[in-house]
Amino acid sequence: MAGSGSGNPNMASGEATKLRAAHLPEAQLSEQLRAVRDNLVGAFDGMDVIGFRGELTLVCPPEVVLKVLQHCRDDAALSCEMLVDLSGVHWPAGQREEVAEETTGWPRYEFGEQAGRIELDYMVRSLRHNHAFRIRTMLPDDDPRMPTATGIYRSAEIMEREVFDFFGVDFDGHPDLRRILMPEEWEGYPHRKDYPLGGVEVQYVGATVPPPDQRSY
C-alpha cells in the first residue's frame, strides 16, 4: 500500500518521494510558492521538492537544514520571520501489517521501510509576503542528531525540547536540552512507533476490553 514505486507524488516515505523540481506537478502550487521553490532550489543543491494539496515541502539532508533556515530568514524574497512549527514523525524500519480480523471485508494494510528514520519538519512562515512552507529532513532513528536552530529562531528552543522528549533527537548546541512534557526521569521516547500506548485493560461485568493498541478492531 505505502510501499515504494507507486509514483504517487504525495508520499512522505520510501525512495519514490524524491522528485526533481522539473517533474513537479505545477498545478498544485501557487505562483508565490513556485517562486519560493525556485529560490531555494537555486540556492542549495540536493533539495527535493514535494508539492501536495497546494503546500510546498523541500526535502534536504540534515547538514544543510540550518543554512536553509538561515537563508529563509535573511533572504529578502523569502523573509520568513517566524518558525511556526517543528515536528517529528517516526518511520520505523521493517515490515508492518495492520489487519482487523473482527469483521470480514476489512482491508489489510501493509507498509514498511528499509531503514528506520525520524522525519523532522520545520514549518516557516513569512508575514511580509504571506507564504508558508516546510523544510523536511530525515535522520536515522538509531542515533538522531541535529544541530540546534535556536540561533536562528528562538521558538525552536521549546520545540526542540519537545522533539527530544518524544523522539530522542539530540540537538547539538541547545541551551537546555531536557525533557519538557514527560517527567525528567522518564525512560523511553513516547511518540516513537516502538513505544507502546501503555493503556490498561478495562474490566466490565463478564468481559474485559483490551487497551486501544491491542484491539483487533
Binding site: M1, A2, N8, N10, M11, A12, S13, F52, R53, E55, T57, E81, M82, L83, V84, D85, S87, G88, V89, H90, E98, A100, T103, G105, W106, P107, Y109, F111, D121, M123, L127, N130, A132, R134, Y153, R154, S155, E157, I158, M159, E162, D176, R179, I180, L181, M182, P183, P190, H191, Y195, L197, G198, P212, D213, Y217
Partner: protein
C-alpha cells in the same frame, strides 16, 4: 575577647555589635586561633551610614522560588521556577507537562472521525477550534476541501466565533480574578453561560462538543437558532460595554497592566508568538485574513491591533476582538445559505442523523428505521463507516486556524490507512510558554501574574 584583639591589632576600639564580619572571616579566625597564627581578617566596620554603601557580605543573593503547579493564579498547572533578585524576576524557567495526556499518540490508534473527540479536549477553552483545525487538515488530505457544503462552513464560522467570545470571557474572568477583581470573574462566567446555552442548544454539550467532523458538521442547526443568536448578540454587546466600564478606565486595572510584560514585535516573531499578543505589538497578522478558512473572508470584520506591546494592549485587543466576533456571527447568521451540512461523498460523510428524543439526543428514529427495516445496504454502510471509518490518502498537510490564543496548527501525516499515522498539534500556548522568560524578565512577582494572565496560556493545549 582576647582572640579578636590578637587577630586585629590595628582596629580601633568599637562596640562589638558594630563589627560586621563575614562567615569566612569567622572561620579563618577560628582556624587562626586554633593554629595560633595571626591572620588578617576581612572586617567591615560600620560606624554610621547607609545599608547600600555596605558591600554585600554575600555575593550571590538571588533566590530561587517555585511558583506552582498548584497555585491559584497560574493558569492551570503551570510551574514557574523564578530566580529572584529581591522581588524582581531575573530568570524564569517554566516547567510544564503536568497535564500531558498523550493525545497525539492516542490519535494514532483510533479511526479518523474518533480523533475529533480526542482533539477537542486539548485546548479546553476553545474546543471547536481544535476540532476545526483537525477537520480542515483531514479534509485537505482527503481532497474534499472544496466539497464541504457552504452551509457547513458558515455554521463552522458561527460556532467558532461564538467559541472565541466564550474563551475571551474566561480569559477576562480569570485574569480579573488573578488581579483581584472578583466582579470580573462573576461577570465573565455569567456571560459565558449565555454563550454556552447557545452552544448547548446546537451541539448538545456545553464543552468538548465533537460537533465539527471531517466533511462538515454533525447535525444541522435547530429551528429557533437565528432568534436566539440575535438576542444573545445584542445582550453581549451591552455586557462587553459593561466590562469596559468596569475595567478600562479603572486606575487599578490600568496600573497593573500598563507597561507590564512588554514583548516587542521582533521578540514575538522570533519566539513564534501569534494571536492577540502579536497584534498588541502593532502587527496586524490574523490568519482569518491572511490565510482564510471556511469562507470567513466573505464577512466584513477588522483585525484589532494595539500599539503598546504590554498587558493593557492585549486586554484592549481581546475586548475588541469579542466585538468583531459578534459582528461576524451576525453577518454569518444573516447570510446563512441553505443546503446540506455534510459533504455529499457517502464514503466520508457521517451517516447518522441525530435528533432530540424523550431521553436526550440520539439517532433519529427515521434513520434507525431506515437502516434497520428498509435498507440492508444502508445498514452495512453505516456499520462500516462508523466502526472502521474511511481511509485517507497518504501525505502530510499543515492547516492552521486562528484560535483565541494564536495560530493553532495541525501537521497531519497519513499513510493511507483508516487511522492517522501522526497528528502533531502546534498549539499556540505551548509556543508562548517558551516566551515566558522574555515576558517576565525584570518584573515584580505580581506583574508576573499579570503577564502570564495577559498571555492567556491554556495548559491543556500546552501539554496536550
Amino acid at each position: 575577647m582576647s582572640d579578636q584583639q590578637q587577630v586585629a591589632p590595628d582596629r580601633p576600639a568599637q562596640d562589638d555589635d558594630a563589627d560586621l564580619t563575614t562567615e569566612q572571616t569567622r572561620e579563618e579566625r577560628a582556624v587562626a586561633a586554633a593554629s595560633g597564627a595571626a591572620v588578617a581578617p576581612h572586617t567591615y566596620t560600620v560606624a554610621s551610614g547607609e545599608w547600600e554603601d555596605l558591600p554585600d557580605a554575600v555575593e550571590d543573593d538571588l533566590m530561587v522560588i517555585n511558583m506552582g503547579p498548584q497555585h491559584p493564579s497560574t493558569h492551570g498547572v503551570l510551574r514557574m521556577v523564578l530566580t529572584l533578585d529581591g522581588e524582581t524576576v531575573v530568570d524564569n524557567k517554566p516547567v510544564i507537562g503536568y497535564l500531558h495526556t498523550g493525545i497525539e499518540k492516542n490519535l494514532e490508534y483510533r479511526p479518523w472521525v474518533q480523533g475529533v473527540t480526542f482533539v477537542t479536549r486539548m485546548d479546553y477553552l476553545s474546543p471547536l477550534f481544535n476540532e476545526l483545525g483537525y477537520c480542515l487538515a483531514v479534509e485537505k488530505l482527503l481532497g474534499i476541501a472544496d466539497e464541504v457544503p457552504e452551509r457547513a462552513s458558515a455554521i463552522r464560522v458561527i460556532m467558532t466565533e461564538l467559541n472565541r467570545v466564550a474563551s475571551h470571557l474566561v480569559w477576562l474572568a480569570t485574569g480579573g480574578l488573578e488581579l483581584g477583581s472578583t466582579s470580573a470573574m462573576i461577570y465573565g462566567f455569567r456571560e459565558r453561560e449565555t454563550v454556552l446555552d447557545i452552544l448547548e442548544y446546537v451541539t448538545g454539550l456545553r464543552m468538548n462538543h465533537a460537533y465539527i467532523r471531517p466533511g462538515g458538521v454533525v447535525q444541522d442547526l435547530p429551528p429557533e437558532f437565528a432568534e436566539r443568536v440575535d438576542t444573545l448578540v445584542s445582550e453581549l454587546y451591552d455586557r462587553i460595554d459593561e466590562f469596559e466600564d468596569l475595567l478600562t478606565g479603572n486606575p487599578i486595572w490600568v496600573e497593573r497592566n500598563k507597561g507590564v510584560a512588554v514583548l516587542t514585535a521582533e521578540q514575538c516573531l522570533d519566539l513564534g508568538v501569534t494571536g492577540p499578543v502579536l497584534r498588541a505589538t502593532g502587527l496586524a497578522h490574523d490568519l482569518r485574513k491572511t490565510a482564510p478558512y471556511c469562507g470567513i473572508d466573505q464577512y466584513d470584520f477588522d483585525v484589532v491591533v494595539a500599539d503598546t506591546a504590554d498587558a493593557f494592549g492585549r486586554y484592549l485587543v481581546r475586548i475588541n476582538e469579542m466585538r468583531q466576533s459578534l459582528r461576524i456571527v451576525t453577518q454569518a447568521v444573516a447570510q446563512l445559505p441553505s443546503g446540506p451540512v455534510m459533504v455529499a461523498d457517502k464514503k466520508v460523510a457521517w451517516p447518522a442523523q441525530l435528533a432530540l428524543g424523550p431521553d436526550g439526543i440520539g439517532n433519529s428514529p427515521e434513520y434507525i428505521s431506515k437502516i434497520m427495516g428498509q435498507s440492508m445496504e444502508a445498514l452495512i454502510h453505516h456499520f462500516k463507516l462508523v466502526t472502521e471509518g474511511f481511509a485517507v490518502p497518504e501525505g502530510q498537510v499543515y492547516t492552521a486556524v486562528e484560535s483565541p490564543r494564536g495560530e493553532l496548527g495541525y501537521q497531519v501525516t497519513s499513510n493511507g490507512t483508516n487511522k492517522p499515522y501522526r497528528v502533531r498539534v502546534r498549539d499556540p500556548s505551548f509556543v508562548h510558554i517558551g516566551a515566558l522568560a522574555d515576558l517576565t524578565n525584570g518584573l515584580l512577582i505580581p506583574d508576573v501574574i499579570a503577564g502570564v494572565a495577559s498571555l492567556d496560556p491554556v495548559m491543556g493545549g500546552v501539554d496536550r
